[in-house]
């Protein structure tokens, strides 16, 4: 039984939406438009600087690597645990969001301990006589990618696992009855039907990697520079706030473009 009492509705919606309009949209439009001419002039300068181009590519590259790595890790696990071993599903679900409950600094610290010169991996490899001198893992792209992988794996896994839940089990049953082993079931049935899940996961992971700051800055040291690190440099070190604004806008646009692009692709795939 409803009443379309618009006075009440507006009153209820007001606090939250005023807040969002005022802060989110307000800051966005204000920062861009109050300074528009300045920014317009500076745009080309910033975007064409080598710093920027390098950071942009680094960011994209890292994002892509993490997307692929998380998918490679998630797919078999999601597939196997959902269709063959539900107990495994529950264990993974319980464990998978732990990284998010923990401070990004703590996580990064943990990775430093694992990947550092005197860290766990090097200690292990030396102990096993695989190598003689410690490898340099920390402060490279790979370290950042591993750190981000830990952070974003839960999102990719959840996205893929959910899309698998939408696959009617009858399809798998009929494939199995026709003689298909797990590999074929995956290749022919599960993978094609879960692509949208993968795409959702990819957009979340990519967006997250583009925006991540703590993990890249600690695990990358001064060697790896992503867009967000560049942003911070402009703000705290160079104090060039116009440039910083431009970087911020670029980050927003990139994330927005990526998410919209993936959504469009999903719609196209749906029709096909």
């Amino acid at each position: 039984m409803e009443r379309n009492n618009w006075i009440v509705i507006t009153l209820f919606l007001f606090p939250a939406f005023f807040f969002i309009f005022f802060l989110l949209l307000g800051s966005l439009f204000f920062t861009v438009f109050s300074n528009f001419n300045n920014l317009k002039d500076k745009f080309v300068e910033v975007v064409s600087s080598s710093y920027f181009i390098a950071s942009y590519f680094t960011t994209l590259k890292i994002g892509l690597v993490v997307v692929i790595a998380s998918a490679v890790l998630s797919y078999p696990l999601a597939f196997y645990s959902h269709f063959y071993n539900p107990k495994l599903s529950r264990v993974i679900d319980a464990v998978v969001f732990i990284p998010l409950m923990v401070n990004p600094l703590i996580r990064s610290l943990g990775w430093m301990i694992i990947l550092g010169r005197e860290g766990l991996i090097n200690w292990l490899l030396i102990k096993l006589s695989v190598i003689n001198a410690p490898l340099r893992i920390l402060y490279t792209d790979i370290a950042v990618e591993i750190g981000l992988l830990e952070l974003f794996f839960p999102f990719m896994y959840t996205a893929i696992a959910s899309s698998m839940e939408n696959i009617p089990y009858e399809l798998v049953m009929s494939a199995k009855s026709l003689g298909a082993g797990p590999l074929r079931v995956f290749k022919d049935i599960v993978f094609p039907l879960s692509i949208t899940g993968f795409m959702t996961g990819a957009s979340i992971v990519m967006a997250g990697c583009a925006a991540a700051f703590v993990t890249p800055s600690i695990l990358g040291g001064l060697k790896v520079r992503t867009l967000s690190i560049l942003l911070r440099e402009y703000v705290d070190i160079t104090l060039d706030w116009d440039a910083a604004t431009i970087i911020a806008i670029v980050i927003l646009l990139t994330v927005f473009a990526f998410i919209t692009g993936v959504n469009l692709l999903k719609k196209l795939l749906m029709r096909w």
Binding site: I9, R90, L105, I114, E150, L252
Partner: protein, 265 residues
């Protein structure tokens, strides 16, 4: 023969993947715990010796102790505010139909889609220009990013409630307000608490949003820890991490208990 292998290989592969995944997820959380007891002055692996002195050492750093308390207070107030604002809005979505409902719904969740660091910076510029009081910056920023969390959990517990419940109470003589208190609140209590706790954890751990909006002497804990790491690299920070891990994991276990594993979707 081949068939048996074909059945075994996946098992081994899955076991390896599972082990790998588990290590990736858990090791970074567990390692600092082990180092926090090490007696060496530098962080190395494996840890040597056993001492509790690093835990005591934390107390010597005012920035860390103050940071902890500050983050605690900030987290609680920001979460309560976020819930106070989300509750009426979410209730309106649940109860009524109105124009642009879809768009507004997405808008309500949009802060979680924005890159936090970019948002942090834009808010900085904005607050400066509007001459908003410095002490409010962090608070406002945190509430903004917490609104989606609060909304999701409150909505999840509302969405399954029969709309007729309130009408039943009203037909029996209760005013709308009374019906809300007697009928709606008890049934969304779980969602409210889960929303609060999760918002708190998010705020407590938040870094990017606090990076540019912090001002003055007191910094939230994550920022204080970051500053610490710029100059020092000793087990103190590991000891602090151990405490924090237990703290936030306990909170998230409470949330799990309240809403069950896949409880509110």
């Amino acid at each position: 023969m081949v068939k048996i292998l074909e059945n075994k290989i996946p098992d081994i592969l899955i076991a390896l993947l599972f082990g790998l995944t588990l290590s990736i997820i858990l090791l970074p959380v567990v390692l600092p715990l082990t180092i926090s007891f090490s007696s060496s002055y530098v962080i190395t692996f494996p840890p040597q010796g056993f001492t509790l002195k690093w835990f005591a050492n934390i107390l010597l750093f005012k920035s860390l102790v103050d940071g902890f308390i500050f983050s605690l207070i900030l987290g609680i107030t920001a979460s309560l505010t976020a819930i106070a604002m989300s509750l009426p809005a979410t209730y309106a979505f649940y109860r009524y139909d109105f124009k642009f409902k879809g768009y507004l719904g997405n808008l309500l969740l949009s802060p979680s889609l924005m890159p936090e660091i970019a948002l942090s910076f834009l808010l900085l510029m904005y607050f400066k220009a509007l001459k908003i009081s410095y002490s409010l910056w962090l608070f406002l920023g945190h509430v903004l990013i917490l609104i989606p969390y609060a909304t999701r959990y409150i909505y999840a517990s509302l969405v399954n409630l029969d709309v007729s419940l309130e009408d039943a109470a009203v037909s029996l003589g209760a005013t709308r307000l009374r019906a809300f208190i007697d009928v709606i609140i008890p049934n969304i209590a779980k969602g409210l608490i889960a929303g609060f706790l999760l918002s708190f954890i998010t705020s407590f751990n938040a870094f990017s949003i606090s990076l540019f909006l912090s001002y003055g002497e007191t910094l939230p804990l994550p920022i204080a820890m970051w500053n610490y790491l710029q100059v020092r690299y000793d087990p103190t920070i590991a000891a602090l991490s151990t405490i924090l891990v237990f703290f936030t994991l306990t909170l998230s276990l409470i949330v799990r208990k309240i809403i069950g594993l896949r409880g509110l979707k």
